[in-house]
Structure formats: structure tokens, C-alpha cells
């Protein structure tokens, strides 16, 4: 017990939690934006892979780190556009299309990686984002220590929480996005484009997912390898429900999940001799299922989620 408490009050633990949760923050915001407009995007898992691979590849080819983030965002947007066209104007099943996008984006990323680097045994490394030191913030006790270990991408993720919240709740565009996910007819009756709003939201949300993927290869690690996304996309889908489609709660959920994950790594080293490591690997997922059971029952879901809309049908 003492050990756990000591872990929980250490700066390095929370710094690691925030680092682990960064891709989840991007992913959960992206998924939330898609779902607020009424479209479930199960392409997220594959879009993570595509963002991780394309961002890394761009940097490796000499595009620079910021160039890599942009490429990852564009890659996400591209797969988001495929999903949006299939599910919005064509009205196909969002589940099937999303899973299809995941399979397609994953395999295409692996294919491009292998084509670009046919003969390497160990993946080549890039120079990733470094932690940035912001003078005033690093002077704050505890918090300064935690934030001092984060890279620009984590700062960007936190900034995106605010931007997504602001756009959704404080601007006319955000109200329209929420309305289109709730009752598309309300938007159509005002002469706004249901398709435009939904496609736009899915593309923007998918771009965020792509950037989240890029964090893995450009900040957390410095190379791309197969299987590195490892279910993070699915976790984001669950976190959206946990957050009842609210950006602030989404941040909380992502950090909590990150903390569970950081805790299991530390517990493995503490008591790993007595308990099989797999138990700890499993712990964050089990805990998130329990968190969902508690939180999701009263979730305020977008009423038109999963429901395609066609012009002229009422």
C-alpha cells in the first residue's frame, strides 16, 4: 500500500501518465468530434497507424517535425474523408465502414513502410520531439516538474481540448455540429448542409486521430514498428462514452487511463515477482470497463448517432 501511495505522489509517475495519455487525448477528441456530428468512426485504430507511419516517414524523408505532424494530420483526414463519403451521403453502415477503414489504413501503412524500407532489420530512427522548458511554468512546484518532461505534442493535445470545447460550445459552428448529431432535420430546416457539417466534422476529427498516431513515432518513440498502436484506438471509442461526449471529461478519462497504464508498469517492477505480468497489462482495460459501466449508464448521447440522413426523407 505504501508503495502505491509513494508512486501516486511522485512527479515522474504523473509525467509518465500524461505522456501515455497524449495520443489518447488526440484520439478521444477526434472520435468525440465525429460522434457529435452523428458519425461513429471505428476507423480510428487504423488512422492511428496511418498517422504514426506517415508522420514518421515524412520526418525520415526530411520534412522536419512540424512537417511530420501536418502529414500525419492529412493522412488522418484522407481516411476520414473515405469514411465520411461512405457513411454520410451514401449512408452505409458506420460500423462496417469504420472497420473497413481500420483494416485498409493499417495494411496500406504497413505496405508503404515495407515498400519504402525493403531491407532493414531494425527500424531506422528519427530525431523526435524533445521536452520543452517553459520558464514560468517550470517554476511551479510539482506541476512544473510534470510539464517540464512533456514535448510540444502534449502541449498541443491540451490546447486542442480547449479548442474543441470552445468550438463545440461557444461558436455557431459548434452548435450546428451538435444539432446535426442530434436531429439533422433541425439543421436542414435552416438551410444548412447536413452533409457538409458531418463530412467536415469527420474529416477534422480524423485529422486529430492522425496527429495522435504521430505522437507514438515522433514523441513517445523515435521509430515505427508493426503493432505499435495496440488497441489505443478502441480505448478512445470507449473513452468517448465514458466522457459522455464532453471534451473536458474526455481529457480526464484519457489521463485516468494513462495513469492506470503508468501504474501497472510500476507495479510490475514492484511486485512482478509474485504476480504474472499479464494481470497488470490487463488492469487498465478491466478498470476502464468498470468505469464505463458506472459512467455510461447516464451518458447523454447524440440522438442521431449511427443514423444516416437522406435529403427529403422525414
Amino acid at each position: 500500500m505504501i508503495d502505491i501511495l509513494q508512486i501516486l505522489i511522485s512527479e515522474s509517475f504523473w509525467a509518465a501518465s500524461l505522456r501515455i495519455s497524449t495520443p489518447l487525448i488526440f484520439g478521444v477528441l477526434g472520435a468525440l468530434l465525429c460522434e457529435k456530428s452523428g458519425v461513429l468512426n471505428l476507423g480510428i485504430e487504423g488512422i492511428f497507424v496511418a498517422g504514426a507511419m506517415s508522420g514518421w516517414l515524412a520526418v525520415w524523408l526530411g520534412a522536419g517535425l512540424i512537417g511530420g505532424v501536418i502529414v500525419a494530420g492529412l493522412a488522418g483526414a484522407f481516411f476520414g474523408l473515405i469514411h465520411a463519403i461512405l457513411t454520410v451521403p451514401l449512408g452505409l453502415s458506420q460500423h462496417v465502414s469504420g472497420l473497413g477503414v481500420t483494416l485498409f489504413a493499417t495494411s496500406l501503412s504497413y505496405f508503404i513502410y515495407r515498400t519504402a524500407l525493403p531491407n532493414v532489420s531494425s527500424p531506422p530512427r528519427i530525431e523526435p520531439f524533445r521536452p520543452i522548458d517553459i520558464p514560468i511554468i517550470s517554476d511551479i512546484p510539482f506541476l512544473g516538474e510534470i510539464m517540464g518532461q512533456q514535448t510540444a505534442m502534449t502541449w498541443l493535445a491540451l490546447l486542442m481540448v480547449f479548442i474543441v470545447w470552445f468550438v463545440l460550445y461557444k461558436t455557431p459552428l459548434g452548435i450546428a455540429i451538435q444539432a446535426v448529431g442530434d436531429n439533422p432535420n433541425s439543421v436542414d430546416a435552416q438551410g444548412l448542409s447536413v452533409y457538409g457539417l458531418r463530412i467536415g466534422s469527420v474529416v477534422a476529427g480524423s485529422a486529430l486521430m492522425g496527429v495522435g498516431g504521430a505522437f507514438l513515432t515522433m514523441s513517445a518513440f523515435d521509430a515505427f514498428f508493426f503493432g505499435m498502436v495496440n488497441g489505443r484506438g478502441w480505448v478512445c471509442i470507449a473513452l468517448v462514452i465514458f466522457a459522455s461526449w464532453k471534451p473536458g471529461k474526455a481529457l480526464l478519462g484519457a489521463v485516468l487511463f494513462g495513469a492506470f497504464d503508468a501504474l501497472q508498469v510500476r507495479l510490475q517492477t514492484e511486485v512482478g515477482a509474485f504476480v504474472p505480468g499479464q494481470i497488470f497489462l490487463m488492469a487498465p482495460y478491466v478498470l476502464s470497463i468498470f468505469a464505463l459501466m458506472i459512467a455510461a449508464r447516464k451518458a447523454d448521447y447524440p440522438r442521431a448517432l449511427l443514423t444516416p440522413w437522406f435529403k427529403g426523407e422525414r
Binding site: 461558436t171 455557431p172 452548435i175 451538435q178 444539432a179 436531429n183 438551410g191 447523454d300 440522438r303
Partner: protein
């Protein structure tokens, strides 16, 4: 009402494929006037309004509307944005509100640029407050729409139109979902707004309302304008005739002595899943040759009552008596065996299997009968001839008996259900909202069949929100409110209306 025109539709025509939805329809609307647009389903009312609102592009014709300086000018056709900015507001029958958003957000949605970073909330709130004061459409702005009653949601829809400076307001069947009292409030509000210079096009097929409420009436039939008159010169018979093209529509109820009791509920109580579907200590008796009407606004326990009598739910307390014997184990099988025919409330959801053919749907309750199956194999030949015969005698129109049932229109689905129910000569009929959403032709067919069954000795439990229908058909009337049944001594329209709204007398 003044003599000044605000809107003028000229020779509008619209075809869908080979179907003529509107044929050379012209009408004028004057400032401060309430114009009723009457017609059966499919007569072209909705198409006409959709052209006015820019959802459809007319094949022919033009629309003129007065601009700010009182000049008539051409409305750009086929563009909802143009219609909105010209001052045309529409309140759809199915509300176009986002339930998770607040009233304020719903009212202001889409006004101004989507890309603005900030909205002037104060200014918008002041404008809405002004409109509320002038029109009397009171509603709390910060409340999420999902928590409002139906009547309040309708007010939000109207406020939405007025907030966009609507000078012409189209109300599409606004009272279909309201209690009689809520409807009266709505009419008062609309009257107050027309005094302020608003012009209203009122779509309905409740003749009583039209006669009471509007200044002028235009009737459409088969896409053409077939009549136009001042309301003070009109009466129910003449309009009905114009709408349907025949005069003997309303079936006459003859007095018949009721027979033995067929179905009784004795002191039945059910908790239900919420207040909306509980039943509190109710008792009723349906006799041979009797229609027992249950009046009430939906969501007051009718669904639970219907499910109980269909055998889908068991009572927590009390007894269900069929004929003279108490039912021990209530389940749907017992009910079908006892000869109870059911016309369900939601015909699309509970009345048909959409992806099965019309023929299959018609024989669905007779599966065990000899001419339907032999040794467990369906007798297709006999099924088809039964279906053909029933479809023609019940006038089920559509793409034929081998088409999927979901392809039929609402009225024809209901006629198909009638064919299924009445062909089994049920002793007891449970008719739950049997004419909801049907046009006059189909509705009067349903009423005629119910009266005929009554004459032949059936006992009918009629659950309906349409008070006029209850009064036309029923021998006795009970009012249901919050799961409590109250017997009505004398059939007084106003009194029943008040009781439906929950006022004790």
C-alpha cells in the same frame, strides 16, 4: 385581415416521375390572415409547401412575396435560404429540434455566419424576449429541449420562425400532438400574432379546427386546387365533399342494445416502467355490440392498457375476465385463442413485418389454419388467393401481394391490418389509435369497419387521442389520465377535453 397581399403562388406545378403532385396551383395570402390548406394525404399540400420553402424546385410557376418596402418580388426558387430570408417560416409536423441543445441554441441555430467566433448572446436574448412578450409563447430559454413537453416544443418551433423575422408562417398539422387545451392556447397565440401582421398557412385535416380558426379555406385534391371559400361561408359537409369528392363519408351509428360482457378488467393496477405507463386501479367492461371509447392524450397509460389486453404484460394486481371466466395465465396465445383482434398503435413497428410480403403479413395470425398450411408446409396457392381476395375487398392498394409490406403507404398498411384482423371475425377488437395519421378516406373506412363489427356483435375497445372520433363512434366513454380511468356520464366535448388534460371535475 387586410386586403394587402403578402404572398402569391402562381401556377405551381410539380411532377415526380409520372406522378403529378401539384398541377397549376395558385393561391394568394393576405396580411394578417389565417388560410387553411385542406386536403387528403397525397393531395399535394406538403409538396406545395416544400416548393414554397425551397425544398423542391417547381417544374412550372412562380412565387411572389412582398419585400421590406412592400413591393411584390420574385422568390428565388429551390433555395431554403432564400425562403427563410424572405420571411417564410415553417413549423413541420415532426419537429426539427435538437433535443440535447437548449431552447436558446435551437432558436438561434444557423442565424448568421457559422464561422463567427463569438455570438452576441445578449442581443439575441433580448430579441427572443420581445417576441415572447408579443406572442405569448412562453418557454424557458435555458432548458434543454429534451425536457420540454410537446406543446412547449411546438412553441420553440414557432419562436424559431419568428426569430428569423417570419411574416408568413406555415403550420403543418400543428394540433396532431396537442391536448385540446394546448391546441386552444396555440390558437390564441397565433391569433395574437396575426393581429400583429403575421400571415399564417394552416395545414390540417381536422375540419372542426379549420372552421373555428381560419379566415379562408383552400382545398386541394389530386394535386389540384378544387375549392376556395371564406370560412364563414363553409360547413363541414361541403368541405368534406370537396376534399374526397363524394358526400356520404361519415358513417352513421345506429343504436343497438348491448349484449353480454365479453371482456372485463377488475381493479387492475400496474406499476409500469414510469409514470407514463402505469395503471391505477382500473375497471372496465366491454359488451357485445358495444364500442367503449378510451379518450386521453398519449402517454397516460394507454400503451400499458393495450399491452395488457394483448397479453404482453401481466397485471400486478386485479383480474382480467374473458366472458365469464377469469384468465389465470395471461399471455398472447390465450388472447389470440379467445378471439381478440388487435389493431396496434404503431402500425409500422408492431403491426407488420416490413420485409415480408403483403400476403405473408395478411395470414400471419392464421398460420395454424388448415387452408394456410398442411403438415407444416405453407400452402402458397391458397395463401395467395386469400391475400388477393382480402386485398381487393379491403381496398389495399400498392405494388401487389408479393411486394414487401413496408412499401405500402400508411393508409394501405392500416387497411392490410384491418383485413388480417377482421377476416378472423374477432369477438373482441382492441383498436389502439386506429386512424392516427390517416387521411379522411382511409380513416372513414376504418370507422366504417369498426361500426360494422359492432353491428355484427363484436365488442370494441377504442383507444384514441382524437376526441371527435371517440364521440362519433363510442357507446360509452372513459377518460384516461395518469393511469386513472374515469367514466363520463354525459358525452360533453368540453368536459372530456378538460379531463384529458388532467383537471378533476
Amino acid at each position: 385581415m387586410s386586403a394587402q397581399k403578402v404572398l402569391s403562388l402562381r401556377s405551381l406545378s410539380k411532377k415526380f416521375g409520372s406522378v403529378v403532385a401539384n398541377d397549376d396551383v395558385s393561391l394568394d395570402l393576405y396580411v394578417g390572415e389565417i388560410l387553411s390548406l385542406l386536403g387528403e394525404n397525397g393531395a399535394g399540400k406538403t409538396t406545395l409547401m416544400n416548393m414554397l420553402f425551397g425544398h423542391y424546385l417547381p417544374d412550372n410557376g412562380e412565387i411572389l412575396i412582398t419585400n421590406k418596402s412592400n413591393q411584390m418580388e420574385q422568390l428565388r426558387l429551390g433555395q431554403p435560404q432564400a425562403a427563410i430570408s424572405a420571411g417564410i417560416g415553417m413549423v413541420h409536423q415532426h419537429f426539427t429540434l435538437a433535443e440535447n441543445l437548449t431552447v436558446f441554441e435551437n432558436i438561434t441555430i444557423g442565424v448568421g455566419s457559422l464561422w463567427a467566433l463569438k455570438t452576441d448572446k445578449k442581443k439575441a436574448q433580448k430579441k427572443i424576449a420581445d417576441i415572447i412578450e408579443r406572442s405569448g409563447l412562453v418557454v424557458a430559454l435555458s432548458e434543454p429541449v429534451g425536457r420540454l413537453s410537446v406543446g412547449e416544443r411546438q412553441r420553440v418551433e414557432i419562436l424559431k420562425a419568428l426569430y428569423r423575422d417570419a411574416r408568413v408562417l406555415v403550420l403543418d398539422e400543428p394540433t396532431a400532438v396537442l391536448t385540446p387545451k394546448e391546441a386552444d392556447v396555440l390558437f390564441d397565440n397565433v391569433k395574437a400574432m396575426t393581429d400583429d401582421g403575421l400571415s399564417v398557412i394552416f395545414i390540417s385535416h381536422k375540419l372542426r379546427e379549420v372552421l373555428e380558426f381560419s379566415d379562408r379555406i383552400v382545398v386541394l385534391r389530386h394535386g389540384q386546387k378544387v375549392g376556395e371559400m371564406l370560412t364563414k361561408d363553409a360547413d363541414e359537409q361541403s368541405i368534406a365533399k370537396m376534399m374526397v369528392g363524394e358526400s356520404t363519408l361519415i358513417s352513421k351509428r345506429v343504436n343497438i342494445q348491448v349484449g353480454n360482457p365479453l371482456l372485463s378488467l377488475e381493479k387492475v393496477s400496474m406499476k409500469g416502467s414510469s409514470r407514463r405507463n402505469r395503471l391505477v386501479d382500473i375497471s372496465l367492461k366491454v359488451h357485445e355490440h358495444e364500442i367503449l371509447g378510451i379518450a386521453g392524450v398519449s402517454g397516460n397509460g394507454q400503451s400499458t392498457l393495450a399491452e395488457l389486453i394483448s397479453g404482453l404484460q401481466k397485471p400486478d394486481q386485479g383480474e382480467v375476465v374473458l366472458g365469464t371466466s377469469t384468465v389465470k395465465k395471461l399471455n398472447p396465445k390465450v388472447i389470440v385463442k379467445a378471439g381478440i383482434g388487435r389493431i396496434p398503435e404503431d402500425r409500422h413497428k408492431d403491426g407488420i413485418v416490413g420485409n415480408m410480403t403483403v400476403a405473408e403479413n395478411i395470414i400471419l395470425e392464421s398460420l395454424s389454419e388448415k387452408n394456410i398450411q398442411k403438415f407444416g408446409f405453407l400452402n402458397r396457392g391458397s395463401i395467395n388467393s386469400i391475400a388477393e381476395e382480402l386485398c381487393s375487398s379491403y381496398d389495399v392498394r400498392g405494388p401487389g401481394i408479393h411486394a414487401h409490406a413496408r412499401l405500402l403507404s400508411g393508409g394501405n398498411i392500416q387497411k392490410m391490418i384491418l383485413a388480417r384482423v377482421f377476416s378472423r371475425n374477432p369477438k373482441i377488437i382492441l383498436a389502439n389509435q386506429p386512424t392516427r395519421g390517416l387521411d379522411m378516406g382511409a380513416a372513414s373506412e376504418v370507422e366504417r369497419r369498426l361500426l360494422e363489427a359492432r353491428k355484427n356483435g363484436s365488442g370494441i375497445l377504442l383507444i384514441s387521442e382524437d376526441l371527435d372520433e371517440i364521440l362519433r363512434l363510442s357507446d360509452r366513454v372513459l377518460v384516461i389520465h395518469s393511469g386513472v380511468l374515469t367514466e363520463i356520464e354525459n358525452m360533453d366535448r368540453e368536459q372530456i377535453g378538460l379531463m384529458m388534460a388532467g383537471e378533476s371535475l
